[in-house]
């Protein structure tokens, strides 16, 4: 058993800033159509609302509690200068008396307050952030992170998932929506990121945001357009295609807008398993992704 990434292990992220565009559908479909599921680790990194397990029905083998750091102020050392409160970007440490008060729910565990304190009066203690469970669905190994209600940032949970031991060949990571801290942590260091979008103004807008992020992090990416043929004309598809051409982004495939796919998903089914016509699409997609990964 290896700790962290094995030498030959690759990471494929499935992301795309818009919620509901089909990230989980695509990530699951990729996982179940891979020719060698035993070489895979499926990571549900959408720790605010993990849902891959609802489709995979894994048997859980292990659950670990994950902690985050929150500041504690040593009032004996603090002189009340307020540098910590000025440094905090989240309003989580406030001058409400002679010494600062910590608003635990707002804290993003960034450590800035302890860093700037000129008197070394701020220490850090562990607080529960959530849990990471490990299990199996048939021969597919799955990790799922789940954040506690009220916690501000799931970054340490995503990090714990990425640091989990895995001796196989490929990790498929179902990323959270948006372009926030948890997404940054999820896609950082990935070998390839598949961006799932849809032919709508929202899909295009959020695709552009995701591409901007991935460019900053130097993660190669390609686009999959879900629900093609959704509108009355093809203007949504054309705009996505124009954007991808301008940005020199490969379009790796499209999934047609089909009520049956949505219905299968709503019943907890993985669409590629219930709609055999999608099998060819995903086998072509794998072909292009594996080419990009090597």
């Amino acid at each position: 058993m290896f700790w962290g990434r094995g030498v030959s292990c690759k990471t494929l992220c499935v992301a795309g800033a818009k919620g509901g565009a089909g990230k989980t559908t695509v990530a699951l479909s990729l996982a179940v159509t891979h020719p060698d599921p035993e070489s895979l680790l499926f990571i549900d990194a959408d720790v605010e609302e993990p849902n891959a397990a609802l489709f995979l029905h894994p048997r859980w083998d292990e659950t670990r509690e994950i902690f985050r750091k929150i500041p504690v102020v040593n009032d004996a050392l603090c002189d009340g200068c307020g540098a910590c409160a000025r440094a905090c970007g989240f309003g989580a440490i406030l001058m409400l008396g002679e010494t600062p008060s910590v608003m635990v729910e707002s804290c993003h565990s960034c450590g800035a307050c302890a860093l700037v304190c000129p008197r070394g009066a701020i220490g850090e203690v562990d607080a529960t952030l959530g849990k990471v469970s490990r299990g199996r669905a048939g021969s597919l190994e799955i990790l799922s992170g789940e954040m506690e209600v009220g916690a501000a940032s799931g970054v340490p949970l995503v990090r714990a998932e990425k640091d989990s031991p895995f001796g196989g060949k490929l990790r498929i990571m179902d990323c959270p929506p948006g372009t926030g801290c948890a997404v940054v942590e999820a896609v950082r260091g990935a070998d390839f990121c598949l961006l799932v979008t849809e032919p709508t103004p929202f899909g295009l807008h959020d695709l552009a945001a995701a591409v901007e992020l991935l460019r900053i992090l130097h993660v190669p990416c390609g686009v999959l357009v879900n629900r093609t043929g959704l509108g009355e004309d093809r203007s949504g598809e054309d705009k996505i295609a124009d954007f991808c051409r301008r940005e020199n982004l490969p379009v790796l495939g499209g999934i047609p807008h089909d009520r049956r796919i949505a219905a299968a998903y709503a019943e907890g089914g993985i669409p590629v398993l219930t709609a055999p016509e999608l099998a060819a699409l995903f086998s072509g997609l794998w072909h292009r992704i594996l080419a990009a990964l090597t």
């Binding site: 309003g91 406030l94 409400l96 008396g97 608003m103």
Partner: protein, 104 residues
């Protein structure tokens, strides 16, 4: 005693603002001198934690009581920690709210 009233503008005739953490201004009434002072609520623009930041702001102004439309749970926690009392509800102008509470 200094009382901060949440407001949409400056001075005693400004319209009462229902919000605490994201109100536009705090109009602060000094019961000893009868003076009004208006302070822009810099916490209103904070992406999160505005309630706590607003509590720290009024504390810095020496306020010991707040009149606001609503006070959220995080703001309440911060006001409590700062030893500042608060009362919620009201309508009209800052002067109306102070009048309705028997201060003016």
């Amino acid at each position: 005693m200094k009382i901060a009233v949440t407001a949409h503008g400056e001075g005693p005739d400004a319209r009462f603002d229902e919000r605490f953490g994201r109100c536009d201004y705090f109009v602060i009434y000094d019961t000893a001198s009868g003076d009004f002072r208006s302070v822009k609520n810099t916490a209103a623009a904070a992406p999160n934690g505005a309630g706590g930041l607003a509590a720290a702001l009024v504390r810095k102004e020496g306020v010991s009581k707040v009149f606001a439309g609503e006070v959220g749970p995080k703001a309440a926690e911060a006001l409590r920690a700062a030893g500042i009392e608060w009362e919620t509800g009201g309508s009209g102008t800052v002067r109306d709210v102070l009048g309705a509470r028997g201060v003016l």
